[in-house]
């Protein structure tokens, strides 16, 4: 599942970064506490958060995340888009709630496994 797939699955819109990146999602972390996010030791994390701030992007960069999704269509600041572009982190805005986004991603993973 690449960032382009994530955009499609979550009815999202790519707001910054490279939407054609071939990196696949290794794990999904849905969390609004950045210190919690820093605890996850997984590769290619997709960070799902309602924290629409630069810190979500900076945290994603620190853990080597492959992308960030801000759910509930929260407005994203210009600086957040700039930081995402500068650090090369694809940033997606989705209108779904955190729960619905998690369910859709889970279903998509199951479908991927079956295929």
């Amino acid at each position: 599942m690449t960032i382009a797939d994530v955009v499609r699955i979550l009815d999202g819109k790519l707001m910054a970064g490279d939407g054609t990146s071939p990196r696949a999602v290794g794990a999904v972390v849905a969390n609004d506490l950045m210190s919690d996010v820093l605890l996850y030791d997984a590769d290619d994390i997709l960070l799902l958060t309602s924290l629409a701030s630069d810190q979500a992007i900076r945290t994603a960069h620190i853990v080597g995340a492959m992308g960030v999704v801000v759910h509930n269509a929260k407005p994203l600041s210009e600086t957040m888009l700039t930081v995402a572009s500068d650090l090369g982190i694809p940033l997606v805005s989705s209108p779904l709630s955190k729960y619905d986004a998690c369910v859709r991603l889970h279903d998509a993973f199951l479908a991927e496994e079956r295929a």
Binding site: M34, S35, L38, D41, T49, S53, D54, Q55, T79
Partner: protein
Amino acid sequence: MAEGYNPTILQGQQTSDDEILANTPLDAKALGGDSSEIIMELLQRFKVRDVMKRQVICIPRKATMRDAQKILRDNRISGVPVSENGRLYGLVSVNDIIKGLDGGWMEEPCEAHMAKNLVVLEGGMPLAFALRYFNNYTYGRFPVLDSDRKLVGIISQRDVMRALLYELSVEIRKLERKTSPKAAEAEQEAKENFYRKEWAVVHNDLSRAGHAANAIKGILRERKIDRSIVRRVAVAAYELEINICIHSHGGVLVLLIADNSVSITAKDRGPGIKDIEWACRDGTSTANDWIRSMGFGAGMGLSNSKRVSDKFEIESEVGKFTIVQCIFDLPKAESAGKEGGA
């Protein structure tokens, strides 16, 4: 102080001592001369821009004298420039605050009471000029403007002394090296295997917080250090940077890459930690709601830093400082010198 007011910070890249040296090649004449000649040579060779502080805390004209007082107190500085979009309007010093307390105008905008007839320096002036200004005037600091008259830094006597002392010590080392080839060899080897860089972290400036940790990650990746080590170092750097930003009066984050280890050191100017054991426990925090709304303050900062480090040390004195050091062991092949110089 009125809520919602934040100081602006001029975020220039600080010139490191090594950069100063690189930009000011040593004149061989100086080595042969006596100490006063060396100092005169240094004063001409250095420019104001080489030694000034580039990270300047500024306040806007509408900020009150009370705001200015808090900035001076929180940052332990004796004067703050009043500046908007790089244009310098004036300066509020401790003397102005004392007059304000006496006269009862602390809640009035600082533009009404700041010093307006300022003596300023230009970045390209030789350091000798700055020294002459310090002798001729009683001011403790001078704002520094560029050729477009924009504020680019501030210089104090302490900055001048720091640069001169550092340079003199380098000159002395060079003289020693001339007489001892073996020592020169050892020093060259040590220099190749060390990399040091530090970043200033400003209290409550969450828009910049994480900037240093992101840079540290980039530096370590460039050096092709193992990914899992890079990640652990970056996590510690980020947590400590956020801690300085939200809990302290401001400080620095220092990265040191040595032959067999990487260390991250966070030093701040207080307020210090009363109970270190309590502060290092998971889930304990003194963060307020604003900090929590920004995604931090879960009380994981110190414990996360400790968890990812091979060696963790913390020292604090209430009202004075906190120093946290995280050390990460590098396998022999990861040593800093193998991937190029600093």
